[in-house]
Amino acid sequence: MVIEFLQFLGSNTRSSFTKLGRGTRFLLQTLSGSASVFPRPRLLLNQLYSVGVLSFLIITISGLFVGMVLGLQGFYILSDFGAEETLGVMVAASLVRELGPVVSALLFAGRAGSALTAEIGLMKATEQLSGMEMMAVDPIKRIISPRFLAGLISMPLLAALFSAVGILGGQLVGSGLLGVDEGAYWSQMQAKLDFQDDIINGVIKSIVFGFVTTWIALFEGYDSIPTSEGVSRATTRTVVNSAFSILGLDFILTALMFGDD
């Protein structure tokens, strides 16, 4: 009984470390394969389309609504203190620092990450990847690296769009419907938000999230058991693991970036 339990613990721990090791090796291969993408920009462009352009709509619409909700809730709370004018600061700071990078990364994991895992998992299940190896085409260079780069490029752009659209949405609700002064909305925001501390840190966050999410999505697909059930499990794992890593990393990054303020 005890022995079995210990065996269970041991094998689980060991297999998760083995998986982490494989994931790291996979990441290193992907990074070293990235250089070979630049001579063939078409590969990258195709992936930018399916990873970035197709996520554009969900990101902007979600950003708009998140900003509008922030405007509404912020107004209710701030008007208790007669501080409606600082609505712009509240909306912009929460979007640029936290919600922009985090929510767009979660949406990105759901929209683009799961698609990447399913695509690569199916390629593996239908033996397209082995077929490429047979033809002396490196699937890492040909399939994985362009997708990785596309995710890395798209994520900061999508997060910036999310924040920008959200701030406009907050302004729409705040000064359009609830009567906060438009000049105060913008000027308070500009006075309080710092380029270095807020905007750049938000962009750094989104780059980190893009890196991690795309890595997880590609690795889960590449590492999936090549059956229909295996691919479906890998897709689930992508979304779950991405969400955990995004939220966990967000805490660490926030503690590092906004520590002494």
């Binding site: 078409r42 462009l45 195709n46 930018l48 389309y49 970035g52 352009v53 554009f56 912009a92 640029v96 490029i153 798209s154 900061p156 752009l157 999508l158 910036a160 769009l161 924040s163 920008a164 659209v165 701030i167 913008w186 925001m189 500009q190 006075a191 938000l193 710092d194 380029f195 807020d198 905007i199 938000g202 962009v203």
Partner: protein, 155 residues
């Protein structure tokens, strides 16, 4: 999948929109446009009490923001608060007998340094010292004194 040309256009639009979003955040949302690294000079003022003053608190003269607080430290010899301020070089004609006071913007607002120019012919230079200062008004202290006084009067 769409044909290659439309796809390129869409990718181009996407990247352009993303970069436009970044520019919007940088210029419209943050203070990048108002702080394009103006030349500035530093002056020091010693306060008995700098209250809730923070690094980056505004420094203003006649209600106009002309600089910001760079650092605040405690001088263990004189038990004073040493406040370093950087002031925009455009405003290099502040007399050296300028008074620095710490005020609060509104009842609950943030604290700022207000400079009131004196009548001297000499100007404050980089590294200059403001000799005449007025400490921050601590609301609790003021209320305490007021209560104490009114209690005394009743006796």
């Amino acid at each position: 999948m769409k044909n290659a040309h439309t796809q390129d256009t869409l990718v181009g639009l996407f990247v352009a929109a993303g970069i436009a979003g970044l520019f919007f955040l940088a210029l419209q949302v943050s203070n990048l446009s108002s702080f394009t690294d103006h030349e500035s000079y530093t002056v020091t003022a010693r306060f008995q009490n700098s209250g809730g003053l923070k690094v980056k608190s505004p420094v203003s003269a006649a209600g106009v923001k002309i600089g910001q607080v760079v650092s605040i430290s405690f001088d263990p010899k004189n038990f004073e608060s040493v406040v370093n301020m950087s002031i925009d070089s455009k405003y290099n004609s502040l007399p050296d007998d300028t008074t620095a006071s710490i005020f609060t913007a509104g009842l609950l607002g943030e604290q700022y340094v207000s400079l009131e120019p004196g009548g001297s012919e000499e100007y404050l230079r980089n590294g200059g010292k403001i000799e005449i200062t007025q400490p921050a008004i601590i609301l609790e202290k003021a209320i305490g004194q007021f209560l104490f006084k009114s209690a005394e009067e009743k006796k």
